[in-house]
Symmetry: D2
Subunit: 490 residues, 4 copies
Amino acid sequence: LSDLLRGGRLAATRKDVTAFTSSIAHDGVLFRPVVKINQAHVVMLMEQEIIAQEEGRRLLQALQGIRRLAARPGLEDVHMYVEEEVVKATNDRVGGNLHIAKSRNDQVSTAIRMKLRRDLTRLVATITTLQDALLDTAGHHLNTVFPGYTHLRPAQPITLAHYLVACVDVLERDVQRMKEAYPRVNQCPMGACALATTSFPISRERVAELLGFDGLLENSVDAVGSRDFLLEVLAAVTIFATDVSRMVADLIVWSSLEFGLLELPDAFSATSSIMPQKKNPDVLEVVRARMSRIQGRFASVATSLTSLPSTYNMDLQEITPTLWAALHEAEASTKILAELYPELRVSGRPFEKAGYAFTTATELANILTRKYGVPFRAAHKAVGAVIKALVEHDGTSRDISTGLLEAAVKENADLALQIQQQDIEDALNPTRFVDAHHVRGGPAPREVTRMLKTRRRRLRSSRQWVDRKSADQSDAEERLDRESTAHEAV
Amino acid sequence: LSDLLRGGRLAATRKDVTAFTSSIAHDGVLFRPVVKINQAHVVMLMEQEIIAQEEGRRLLQALQGIRRLAARPGLEDVHMYVEEEVVKATNDRVGGNLHIAKSRNDQVSTAIRMKLRRDLTRLVATITTLQDALLDTAGHHLNTVFPGYTHLRPAQPITLAHYLVACVDVLERDVQRMKEAYPRVNQCPMGACALATTSFPISRERVAELLGFDGLLENSVDAVGSRDFLLEVLAAVTIFATDVSRMVADLIVWSSLEFGLLELPDAFSATSSIMPQKKNPDVLEVVRARMSRIQGRFASVATSLTSLPSTYNMDLQEITPTLWAALHEAEASTKILAELYPELRVSGRPFEKAGYAFTTATELANILTRKYGVPFRAAHKAVGAVIKALVEHDGTSRDISTGLLEAAVKENADLALQIQQQDIEDALNPTRFVDAHHVRGGPAPREVTRMLKTRRRRLRSSRQWVDRKSADQSDAEERLDRESTAHEAV
Amino acid sequence: LSDLLRGGRLAATRKDVTAFTSSIAHDGVLFRPVVKINQAHVVMLMEQEIIAQEEGRRLLQALQGIRRLAARPGLEDVHMYVEEEVVKATNDRVGGNLHIAKSRNDQVSTAIRMKLRRDLTRLVATITTLQDALLDTAGHHLNTVFPGYTHLRPAQPITLAHYLVACVDVLERDVQRMKEAYPRVNQCPMGACALATTSFPISRERVAELLGFDGLLENSVDAVGSRDFLLEVLAAVTIFATDVSRMVADLIVWSSLEFGLLELPDAFSATSSIMPQKKNPDVLEVVRARMSRIQGRFASVATSLTSLPSTYNMDLQEITPTLWAALHEAEASTKILAELYPELRVSGRPFEKAGYAFTTATELANILTRKYGVPFRAAHKAVGAVIKALVEHDGTSRDISTGLLEAAVKENADLALQIQQQDIEDALNPTRFVDAHHVRGGPAPREVTRMLKTRRRRLRSSRQWVDRKSADQSDAEERLDRESTAHEAV
Amino acid sequence: LSDLLRGGRLAATRKDVTAFTSSIAHDGVLFRPVVKINQAHVVMLMEQEIIAQEEGRRLLQALQGIRRLAARPGLEDVHMYVEEEVVKATNDRVGGNLHIAKSRNDQVSTAIRMKLRRDLTRLVATITTLQDALLDTAGHHLNTVFPGYTHLRPAQPITLAHYLVACVDVLERDVQRMKEAYPRVNQCPMGACALATTSFPISRERVAELLGFDGLLENSVDAVGSRDFLLEVLAAVTIFATDVSRMVADLIVWSSLEFGLLELPDAFSATSSIMPQKKNPDVLEVVRARMSRIQGRFASVATSLTSLPSTYNMDLQEITPTLWAALHEAEASTKILAELYPELRVSGRPFEKAGYAFTTATELANILTRKYGVPFRAAHKAVGAVIKALVEHDGTSRDISTGLLEAAVKENADLALQIQQQDIEDALNPTRFVDAHHVRGGPAPREVTRMLKTRRRRLRSSRQWVDRKSADQSDAEERLDRESTAHEAV
């Protein structure tokens, strides 16, 4: 514990104990916010005439002079560091007033929120970049017929662009959740002090304004003790992590030798030390693992908060580094994926393989229903029977003859049809299949083209959000600097 | 697997295998939504002239006739059940067309969303009831001076009302997150079919409208394969669970014999089979345990989704019951807490105990600074030194004399003061302390009264949201019934 | 709360509250153990002359008469049920003595352990069956050359038997962990009473012996409050679940159309309602999902226990059903896998595909080193360069000529060699590759044959363990029945 | 990717990609083991005459010369580092042979196990120290009557020593689990190479022996791909973490002002920056938070492993740092607790407070049964009725008169008794209560003294285990050095 505090109540602590409880190793990222908070607080104290102008000026000058967090043994945290530096630069009397009407409890929650709003904005920006990369890639693959899978089995033809738009939409909801969390992050706890506010006539609104917050975390007990804003962001990142892990799992499987649908860029792969023919998806595997790690980070924090007594406990200090780690892992992985996707190459012609050809079977059933009036389930059965027969005899879709199909329809629906060969060919052609699926949200190139357009628009709005929030954050900093300078000069 | 499907591809499955993979034990809750979806789908098929009017009429009549899900061995799921019942009530030809242009993949996601929007609305309503109970209770305790804790140590006096408003605010953010999740839940996947939409000229918009959705889950790959809406709701419930567990942990500790701050209502407590003097917080402990269980439910689902191949896999079937369980646990616990809080009785007069009296120490330091010009840190140190001396000699706050305090100020700030006894008494009086903390968000009764008013307003808006959503859901059902009847009659 | 208890301390509870806290819905599985515990307890009370022989006889007869747990509204738990039934069958005076020197706290922990030791034994037995199935399957595939994967890329040839033995070994460690947990489960808490034992001169050793425990959970505070035995079993099941999920993930991928290495048995697959060509791995996906659910169950319980006050809290009641659920899910999944594995058919000839052929590349490098003295890394580089060239020109391993290889060695190792064509052919032949890898633990058929033999031996010892534990459990029950009857007859 | 490998298959990777996938930041702890492994491997290669003696000598000398892991940009991992350094110190030809018959896959798993066995041994040693501290503290508190709690309500008197022995027993099972995990950790994967062993005539047994392993991780697919040993250790640490968090939660509550049972040592507490009277349990809160964090670390790794393809994937690299972090957190927290417990001071005389006195109520009921023949449940009810009446009239246990009790017995058991005042006083005296509870495992000082003795014996055996394992590890290192030197000298 800092000497500043220990004049009073307790006997001296031990160095090993301080080292154990100190947050200083993780406080670097909170240094700037803590200085800013102190500036804003002093400006407010001057305006409210709680401290003398001269005192305030000296405090502001002292704060100006602290350039960085210089860790030293026995240092408890960034809050004490800043206060000690100010006392050093002024004296006990002046510096000792910096802490009027505030506490570490409100200050640390405020500082976390200031860093978090920046990190959250940056993560949204990075996801936007990934979405952009996906849309660009999709733009090149509007006509790339691609197997659509369910249960990891080829189900029906879609296009690669269609799949990529689905990824963009999933990420869009991730972005929405992060944006919606933002206003709950960007509330100012300052003035809550230890937990009961203060009897000094402070202006909480003014501090919140100077620090660029959207409003106050009003109730002071709530202000110092709640970390749901943090858990909410972690939850959003965790959901995002599951989404990304699914995208990555697709790529790992599809770029396997056996699937052979995609070729990973060399620059994002690795070879083996002993098996020269290998091309391992190292980057994707690392992303996958980091996404799983984020799951655990959420669990860490949620477990810490469960049944924790209300208001401030040291446990709250310990959960913050986990938040930063999750955000960092999410951002770094997103960034590298944004560079990887555009480098993917489509390889192979899957629909020439026997198994894939059957993926258009539903369309054959549909045509039997639509054009020949076969009841849907009967059509389904008939086509199924045909495929079963072919699979058992190593046949392919090319072996689906009119005769075979007519016999199956007779058997399953008791209908005698004359089916045209061209209908079979049309139904089985994957490109025609895709074109025929042009209802809203379908894989047909013209529908995907339309979707691409609307996604690009949405993306622009996300980017505007990012720009606006970044500007708000920077503007607040500059405004505070100006106010601070003005007050120093008074 | 239902016989309906197996005409085709595969040899018969075994009963134990069907029992293993069947979801029928959990499908009861999806029965109504699945019937509704089929109704809406048939109406649309008729309107789009994909099926004949006569056929549509018979399908609608058959759907009307299915009253309940009658589980039978070998039954795969609710989707097959409804289809089989319709086939029974009509015939293969007519009933076989029910499945045109849809699939279990889009149908199940739609059904989950329909049930979920109801459950979510009901949970929000229940939380609103709890908030209401907290505000009512707060209304009775505006002047109930209560210790505010940090680190489970009495820190400063607040009021019970002040604390309860903090709980209301925490829950308010939980409600916000649930409300914000709602529009992402209330999107319609129908028409996505297996994953690639259909070549039939369906109107996805019409089905969405008939089922009361806010819009389409547009991209069909996304529509059948994404469960982030479900994980998001679970995340919101999980954060809510941590919040509730903290509230409950407070009550368990505060109602302990030793804290003696609150008396739990007898009706919500239990005695021991062997220790007749016990009054155990059984209800609160069960709530706490259920909140922890919800953490695990989130982990279950998140782990299931991690690295899962895109689109539909059977894993998605398995995560749904976990969602319902979490929602049920959250709602039942909330409901019982809403009944418990108003029955809490405040017991004891904590501020007469030695230790509590020192909780006003900050105010003494503040007065030294504000009135006597002692630099803040020095005032803090001086007060700390006085308390340390008293604690060591088993003194209480009543032993803080002017002389003692003046000596401490001299020692710590090198200032010779003449302190008035009245100032000390004022500072140390917890009621005066609370009154003096009247800045925004503080515990002063007039400030808490103001906050109560704004919270009541917010609560009204939450209730309106609940009413609006409930009405939307019911209206949609009725509208669909009308449309369905109209189409039957054509 | 049962009327039995409420004569005393508290006003009547409400039905909704009892329903909320009651464990009766989950207590069915504890009914038999609870009756047994009461029998053993009465026998001991008689032997220690704490109760009169006549009283003891009537209690034992009454216990004999309770056939099943008949849930009724307002019933708190199985412990009260049994006591109430005994009171009904005797009278207040006699029945009222059943609870002398015991408490629900020690009784419930004892009952859980009695059920758990059975469930654990059965799970071990079931895993043994799965291991047996794997060994049998392996026995048929000693010479089935199969690609060994790393990073989901074919790395080197192994055999299917080699892989299956690896699975058996993984499961063996799971079994070991469960066996090692058993003695910690099988300790008797009885006599700890509420938490401080009793002043009656009971014999805890005798009760433990009568119930077939290995010993006492000695310290009474530990006895009633610890659930690490339960969390440990859950941990073992959770690790097992990750192991099984990996095995299942392999099967899902390998049985895909694209990998085409294995054909799933029809009886364990499903088709799609709309895509007749599909053969979905439903059973495997459900197993995978359940394994993920088990992860969450562990998290539930671990979170519940974290920071829980020592000794008994109601939270402990709430975690028990989670344990049973996890055990049930593990057992059912294991059982179905034991039936599935032997039905797997190997399909395709992977090593005829271009990509797979390169999986013997390490052997080519090894031969260059071993026979031609090329430094290892240089050999590796040379082979890598050859493969790179071939991959770029769509060549296969058949195109690796002596000339090409010699050039690569010259380039990378500056050595001029004369390589024999036969050496290349030998190196690249996957069957020869497998044969050459006959060091301990390698894929060579003779080595795998040896490993199969040792695994069969180990399996026998596992089965003996299961038989011994089952016998111990049954013997204890019978012995208790005999003792009980003897005491009734006295 | 290191240049060493890239001569071959892939185009150059990018620096950002290498930085993303590199494990070098976490590989420091594996440096020593990796060097040792290489030494043992070379010795074996020489003995098996796979490499020339001269070559082996030079490799061993080169290995001897590598002093530390010097991270440099673009460095992939510690394995490549060591190999590159050896190549530098020798040349391509000699150094290039270091990698004969091994792979990073087997090497990394071996290195993790070597570090893990040390860390696990050290953690067991540290827990032993904590147990020792608990036993010492218990030795001073054999007669310190202390409230035993259930449901956080005082239930019955025990002694502080009795409680502390319970903690020792809980920790003992933690230690058992760790010891039982050890032999599964201490198995050698070397020789498994990439996954299929090698065609070189290596001796896997010899390498395992040189590295001090208990045996081989035999099947090579299992050897490179399994991480259950790691998850098992994490599970043991996680269970330990829940146990410790419960112990710590007890201390936090008991040292609260209100419970006032224990005084935390000043050196392990902290004061508030604004509330000089506070004495916060910072150390305990930090421990509690770290224990929760460990829960999440388990979840991270379990999620990563779930459904992971068999054998090696990069995900395995990513889970290792999580293991080290959990072990470090567990050890540091244990160490500080071992220093904290002996400094705890017992404060207050709880049994003089009204509420606590009733904690002996069971004994009063027992005496009614034992001495006066009142049926147990009736005695319970009678005592409950008396206490209820007293609580309602703010009475204390001193107000339990013979008349009151006789009346209650009459009412509840319809028995007319003449109760002696002395019996009431004896029953209600907490010290007599404790003395009377002397059955096995009970709180009576003579029974706890006996338990202390047996625990001290067990502790000695744990320490012997630690010493033996430490010696084994060091002996292996030294033996290897000797062998290595001998081979260098040949």
